[in-house]
Symmetry: C2
Subunit: 217 residues, 2 copies
């Protein structure tokens, strides 16, 4: 196959993201991807073992970074309150999604399916996500920061808040004139999230000044 | 085309729901649908004008009922509190989705796309949904039941809570052992929703006895 610039690989990934969104996974051929990326068809198979391999690669790439963003946010806040940890995790995930909104949407959409790939993703990345959030919530309930309540629906609620805007960006834009790609969107959204947190999760309200400091940092 | 039993039409719709979910819209041919429904290929075109027509029919059919469920819930509670209206709307939408979970998932998944069909759906059904929820929220804020807060993110939050379980049923099942098709699921979920409502929306908490009566009715 000879020497191939790493940008060819990137071009193939970019082309796949676009085409999977527009024509769907089943409606996109390897030939379409190669054509759009302006590379040889054989290259796609060589690098990714075909279309399914490409989809897997896109999912894994996104979700590795997704979990990393969550882990980093908690690690950076070692010793801080569970409330601050959870806020940081949610904000970092949103910022991460905002960096690659098309890829985020592709992966989040994929996860609404019931495929072998999704089952594999769930048994690895989604289990990690669940464990990470559960740990923060249990700590917060243990140290009297959070109100005691059943974990399952609470976890799902938090996860949905972190992903909804990037799964339905056009819906937010068309009906609510909210652009998820606008940097100010995440700040505004985090105010709403924190409002939810203060009302539904925290035992005692915190001083609003601390919130402002967090959101501006 | 002669006399065709209405069940043939139903069989085509059922087959399309299944195939669109498994193979995707682009990966499904009219021939696949006819084969699965055990009808003549020409029948699919005759009834629905092809695959795109079928998808539109499924979306419109689901969303007509979806909006109807919301409207009926509010009409039945004329003169009752905004809180009771909103609870009823959310519960009725969930019950409606539970009646046809595969179709619900298909339509909710479709709505995460940015297609011509979705833009048409948004300008009709989603605009109606938004108006209906907005009316309840404005009333509730006006009559001092609900806390004043920006409408856009609040509306999105409510909409997401109504749709999330049926967009990701396998996720809830695999990771949280929650079966959205179980009748008890909606009761449990509505307790969580009402918990959110009491904390984030209501100005004053209501007596919990009223909530129990509502959920058992």
């Amino acid at each position: 196959m000879g020497v191939v610039s790493s940008s060819s690989k990137e071009k193939v990934l970019e082309a796949a993201i676009t085409l999977f969104q527009v024509k769907g996974f089943h409606g996109t051929s390897v030939r379409d991807i190669a054509l759009k990326a302006n590379v040889n068809v054989a290259l796609v198979s060589y690098y990714f073992g075909g279309k399914q391999g490409l989809l897997e690669q896109l999912n894994v790439q996104f979700l590795e970074g997704y979990i990393q963003a969550m882990e980093q946010a908690t690690e950076e806040r070692l010793g801080q309150s569970s409330h601050e940890k959870l806020l940081a995790v949610m904000e970092q995930v949103l910022l991460y999604e905002q960096q690659a909104p098309s890829l985020a949407r592709l992966v989040l959409r994929e996860m609404t399916l019931d495929s072998t790939l999704v089952r594999e993703i769930m048994s690895t990345y989604m289990r990690k996500e669940k464990h990470l959030l559960e740990t923060i919530l249990r700590q917060g309930m243990g140290n009297q920061e959070f109100r005691k309540q059943p974990l399952d629906l609470l976890l799902l609620h938090i996860r949905t808040m972190m992903t909804m805007p990037f799964l339905q960006p056009h819906y937010l834009r068309e009906l609510y004139q909210l652009s998820v790609n606008d940097p100010s969107f995440i700040k505004r959204y985090m105010v709403h999230v924190n409002d939810w947190m203060a009302a539904c999760l925290l035992k005692k309200p915190i001083a609003s000044s601390r919130l402002v400091i967090h959101l501006d940092s």
